[in-house]
């Protein structure tokens, strides 16, 4: 599927700025961004219930923009599922086949197969309101896939579920994608979910795709401050010095005069940013063999399930760093006010152009 210069303008405001994008068949592609970033609008244009102001959406080389929504043969799972409340589970799943005029016998067989695959046998005569959130979710999946669409769109499908169920459904969706081999375009505001599910992730901001990459590259090589902060945590500082060298270790001066050793392919210049991920920072009484080592004071310490989080201030500077360590073995827990050393490698300082 390829999106070519697709845009949507509402009352001269760009909900989606001209966007181009290629998605390979069978890919799991996630679009994330804060609310109002245009991700749902983009999905609506692919599904066909929002008309693009300009551009083409080609599936297998054919532009589908002029094709009405009900002829596009694209599956869609909606936020809050949009199950028909007056239909039973069976009728909901049978609906796409019924409107396609299939024989009753065939509909019954295929619906039963699909319900079995989603482990929904036994609830087929119930109405959606009588189902749990997870079951409703699975009915929505069954209904959107029973007519074997080649593309499946999902708009925050897990938004209404609580945390544990959401984790379980993520596994379910992943399994579903593997079994059907369908191309999935998945919209969410949850970066963890996107990273868990998707082969590639696009980050949207103000109607523009700011970066498209694998989850790992997005996290390790963000191209902007926005991406770095949106995906995971980061300590970010403005850079004052301009250094022409690149590819080798060199010193960079931050706004408050602090010097940091960096190895980045990007040229750093005034107005750029230095970004350090919290889990790349070591904390301890004495650190050795790191490019950057500073004396620091613990300002905040917090034990959370699976990690210890700190906020430490580098002594004699304005820099405050977020640090996260795994509470494994004999790791020491540093109380508030403790004097410690923090350090990290030159390779773990990311330079951001904007």
């Amino acid at each position: 599927m390829s999106i070519r210069n697709v845009s949507k303008t509402y009352a001269s405001i760009d909900a989606v700025a001209p966007t181009s994008l290629e998605i390979e068949s069978g890919d799991f592609f996630a679009i994330i961004g804060p609310s109002g970033s245009g991700k749902s609008t983009l999905l609506g244009m692919i599904a066909g219930y929002i008309d693009p102001s300009a551009g083409q959406i080609a599936v297998d080389g054919r532009d589908i923009v002029p094709v009405p929504i009900y002829r596009r043969n694209i599956g869609m799972v909606f936020q809050n599922y949009a199950l028909f409340p007056h239909h039973t589970v069976f009728q909901n799943v049978a609906y796409p086949l019924k409107v396609r005029g299939l024989a009753k016998q065939e509909i019954a067989t295929r619906v039963r197969e699909s319900l079995a695959m989603e482990r929904l046998e036994g609830v087929e005569t119930r109405k959606p309101a009588e189902l749990s959130g997870g079951q409703q979710q699975r009915v929505a999946l069954a209904r959107a896939s029973i007519y074997q669409p080649s593309i499946l769109l999902m708009d925050e499908p897990l938004g209404a579920l609580d945390k544990n169920l959401r984790d379980e459904m993520q596994e379910e969706i992943k399994r579903f994608h593997h079994e059907l081999g369908v191309t999935v375009i998945y919209v969410t505001h949850d970066q963890q979910e996107a990273a868990f599910l998707a082969d590639r992730v696009a980050i949207m901001k103000d109607g523009k795709m700011v970066q498209i990459d694998t989850p790992r590259l997005l996290y390790e090589q963000p191209n902007s401050r926005f991406v770095a902060e949106f995906l995971g945590e980061a300590s970010i500082f403005s850079v004052k010095s301009t250094v022409a060298r690149s590819g080798q270790k060199h010193k960079v001066v931050l706004d408050d005069g602090t010097q940091v050793v960096v190895r980045s392919k990007l040229r750093s210049a005034d107005g750029h940013f230095a970004c350090i991920r919290p889990e790349r920072i070591m904390i301890g009484a004495r650190l050795k063999g790191l490019d950057n080592v500073y004396r620091a004071t613990v300002r905040e310490s917090l034990y959370t399930p699976g990690s210890i989080r700190y906020r430490v201030a580098l002594d004699g500077t304005d820099c405050v760093l977020k640090v996260r360590v795994l509470p494994q073995g004999n790791v020491e827990f540093h109380e508030h006010g403790t004097s410690v050393q923090v350090g990290w490698s030159a390779d773990d300082t990311i330079i951001l152009k904007e």
């Binding site: 599956g75 028909f84 007056h86």
Partner: protein
């Protein structure tokens, strides 16, 4: 003793309750009087009734004028309510779902007949029906009553459409159903209770209507309220009260149906 704040509110609640009771009794008394005097055995109206007799009902049934007027009323009511309901559904879909340009105007116009003085409508419709050659025909009254009835299905269906998200219809279309299939399988079942209620109210509005009927009907297409009004002009007998009671009973059944039927169909 100092009155606590809670006691003041409790007293206020009692006053409100008393007020509602008085108003309801005020409405009910004249209605009950009509029913009572319709069983009057004498040939003139008196209250309290001097006895009990159903002779005026017997006479009502055997009076060809009344029965044909009743049939006219029912025929006009069903036809007008059907037209009003179809128009009301279309209008509500346009205003709520399509948000088409001019939808505010459509909304105002659809509700207007409920608040506009009927005499204004009547004066406007009269020359039109003469011009179209429909004056005195059933069609003229049917169209006029459809206009009177329109606000009811329009309002109830608008309410039903706003009660659920248009996502359901979008989902239906994304699953391969075209506009007609979506209306048949999704929209209509969702709004059915509102359609039934709107139809009944539109029918009741037609059954009660007098002013437009005066302007637009002929002796052959007289409705029941019109006949009553004509009779009132030269003699007042308990037969009139009997006819009024028939209208009252039919309307009461309709109002009851309008509240009960939609709930039943929602469950089914």
């Amino acid at each position: 003793m100092k009155m606590s704040e809670k006691m003041i509110w409790a007293a206020w609640e009692r006053i409100l309750r008393a007020l509602v009771t008085v108003v309801l009794i005020g409405f009910l008394v004249p209605i009950l009087v009509v029913v009572a005097v319709s069983f009057e055995p004498k040939t003139y109206l008196s209250f309290p009734p001097s006895g009990f007799s159903v002779q005026w009902y017997v006479q009502f049934i055997h009076n060809g004028d009344y029965t044909s007027a009743l049939m006219n009323s029912i025929l006009i009511g069903v036809a007008a309510a059907s037209l009003a309901t179809i128009a009301g559904i279309c209008g509500a879909l346009g205003v709520i779902r399509a948000a088409a340009p001019g939808s505010t105007l459509v909304g105002i116009l659809s509700v207007a007949p409920a608040v506009l003085p009927q005499i204004v409508l009547a004066i406007g419709l009269y020359p039109i029906s003469v011009w179209l050659g429909l004056q005195g025909t059933l069609l003229a009254v049917i169209f006029a009553h459809a206009v009177i009835g329109l606000p009811f299905p329009f309002i109830t269906v608008c309410g039903a459409l706003t009660a659920y998200s248009s996502r359901l219809e979008i989902a239906s279309m994304s699953l391969g159903a075209n506009y007609f299939q979506t209306f048949r399988h999704v929209t209509f079942p969702m709004i059915r209770p509102a359609v039934i209620a709107g139809f009944i109210f539109a029918f009741a509005a037609s059954l009660d209507e007098l002013v437009l009927a005066i302007f637009l009907s002929s002796p052959a297409t007289r409705t029941l309220p019109l006949l009553l009004w004509e009779q009132l002009n030269f003699q007042i007998t308990p037969e009139l009260a009997a006819a009024a009671t028939v209208i009252l009973v039919v309307t009461s059944i309709l109002i009851f149906a309008a509240t009960v039927l939609p709930r039943l169909s929602k469950r089914g």
